[in-house]
Amino acid sequence: MEKSQKSHGGARAGAGRKPKFGERTALMRVPESAQPVVVDFLNELAQKRQVEPKWPSHLTPVKLAENPPVFKVPLFNHTIQAGFPSPADDYVAESLDLNEHLMPRKEATYLLTVSGDSMIGVGIHDGDILVVDRSLTPVNGKVVIAILDGQFTVKTLEKKRGKIRLLPANPDFEPIELKDEQELQIWGVVTKVIHSL
């Protein structure tokens, strides 16, 4: 669209709000109880900015896993009509928190290192890190950490017709049958594998 050459109307130089922070600002929603704190914080920030125009590192709006939920990144720019909240404000992207994704119940989550190739067939390699959630119930077909002879072992749990077996995922290894008097201790259920490429 071509710009029309009108001599009046349009923006007046020097009109409107002065930027407080020396950069673009974004709208965000904050919990009501936190409002005074956030306002104080921003005022302080604005004052600091006069001296030191650097955005503190912990406030970078897009940052993996460090991002508190009150900071949101707008998906697109939009103009703001004074007094009317823009409906577009509701369309903001959440930041991604890898901790949340890998361990929704962190109290019950532990990390273990894999040694050996007995589970290579299900994508568990030597040296990988396993995410183990102890709050889950070990059911047939789950990959579990079991205790055998005082050692941690990672295998697929098979519960069939009252018989329990621990299955490797590698033809070079034998399934582990439980003898009748042997009690199997399951330490936790493996939920994720962290594998470096």
Partner: protein, 428 residues
């Protein structure tokens, strides 16, 4: 009726070791204080051999050989993390939680319209499953009674009550009387050996006799705290945590905030004041601490608000009871765990890895509460930082190395299984 539960981990340090070293299951295990000096935790098998708490390890060597006792050096990084997990699982069971020590938590269950014994078993089951730590639950109408109930849950004074949960509120008056007549007065919370001897001297030998004694007499001959204990035994809740001697193994200082706290500087203030309170207590009992745990929690009973609970244990370069050094370490830990954007409900610190002052060497920096020079300050926090990252003793004051006898021994320390990428447990 008021219902307060005390939940604690059984042989907590040993249990933490066993979670990641299943080969220790069923074997006699002790955990030694820093420097591998004294026994600070015993597995059930070791208790059965009659090994007392606090005994120096060298005196145990023969017995250890004979029975295959396994000694682990203390690993407070691991215990601190497991403690954190245990306390947050327990917090799921009541909006009112008071963490009392590294392995003990009070929960208020008043008004819960439930079978509390079954509820207690549920708590035990969940903590066991999520963390691997076995716990016992004692319930009573005051903290002192909850403590006593917890003792009953472990010991079979009443065989039917010894399966890990005891609710004294469910006993009849005569049942309670009968039970308390069989428990020594020394088992009461806050009745130490000295007070026990004096009580026995005036004919008070059992819990029941203390419960029946006259308040005014106890106040006159002992002190107001013991008088309150008597009131508590009679079901009147009147003791604040602070007023009862902490267990010797750690010192805890924490509080819930009246209003949600958001900013690091406010938390800093709180943490510094907790540290100095705890350091005072530490000096009072002539101990030094080798590690300090700091933790923050949001309010789990406002599920709509974002939740964040985290704790970290900072190992000190050198055991100290210097307020300044402890506060510094706590602040360093807080900086590492603090996240902006949460409404914090509670913060606290816990001093762990305690040992008597006379068992540590003179330290270059341990000015007793004297203001430190700025350089020593910086040096101190840098050293802490290095040692927290690289493991205790990575950098030490020369004063430690001159006399080799003082060198920190932790010859049989397990891995930091939950806090260090390089030290995770291995599965084959």
């Amino acid at each position: 009726m008021t219902a307060i539960a005390l939940i604690d981990g059984n042989n907590f340090y040993v249990s933490c070791e066993r979670v990641f070293q299943p080969e220790l299951e069923g074997k006699p295990v002790v955990v030694l204080s820093n420097n591998d000096g004294c026994v600070v935790a015993r597995s059930a098998e070791v208790k059965a051999l009659g090994v007392p708490m606090g005994i120096p390890w060298f005196k145990l060597k023969d017995l250890a050989k004979q029975h295959g006792i396994i000694a682990k050096s203390s690993n407070y990084t691991l215990y601190g993390d497991m403690s954190q997990r245990m306390h947050s699982v327990i917090a799921q069971f009541s909006p009112e939680q008071e963490i009392y020590s590294i392995d003990e938590t009070f929960l208020d269950l008043t008004g819960f319209n439930l079978d509390l014994v079954a509820y207690g078993q549920e708590i035990r089951q969940r903590v066991r499953q999520w963390t691997g730590i076995p716990v016992c639950v004692g319930i009573g109408s005051s903290k002192t009674l909850a403590k006593l109930a917890n003792h009953c849950a472990k010991k079979s004074h009443v065989p039917s009550m010894a399966d890990g949960v005891t609710d004294l509120n469910q006993l009849s008056g005569s049942g309670l009387r009968e039970l308390f007549s069989r428990i020594e007065v020394g088992e009461v919370w806050g009745v130490g050996r000295k007070i026990q001897e004096r009580l026995v001297g005036i004919g008070i030998e059992t819990v029941q006799q203390l419960k029946d004694s006259s308040l005014s007499r106890i106040k006159k001959e002992f002190n107001v705290v013991l008088a309150r204990t008597v009131a508590e035994l009679n079901g009147e809740s009147c003791l604040a945590m602070e007023e009862v001697a902490q267990p010797k193994q750690q010192i805890m200082s924490s509080r819930s905030f009246g209003q949600p706290v958001f900013l690091l500087e406010d938390l800093n203030e709180a943490v510094v004041s907790y540290s100095s309170r705890a350091a005072e207590k530490l000096r009072h009992q002539n101990h030094v601490a080798g590690a300090i745990q700091v933790f923050v929690q949001t309010n789990p009973f406002k599920p709509k608000e974002p939740q964040y609970n985290k704790g970290v244990t900072v190992k000190l370069l050198h055991p100290t009871n210097n307020t300044f050094q402890l506060a510094e370490a706590a602040l360093y830990g807080l900086k590492r765990i603090y996240k902006l954007g949460y409404a914090y409900k509670k913060a606290g610190i816990m001093l762990t890895d305690l040992c008597p002052t006379d068992q540590v060497p003179i330290d270059l920096f341990s000015g007793f509460d004297e203001p430190e020079t700025a350089r020593a300050k910086n040096l101190m926090s840098t050293l802490d930082e290095i040692n927290a990252k690289m493991g205790r003793g990575t950098v030490r004051s020369a004063g430690e190395g001159i006399q080799k006898a003082w060198a920190m021994r932790s010859s049989n320390k397990s891995n930091a299984f939950t806090t260090d990428w390089e030290q995770l447990a291995t599965a084959i």
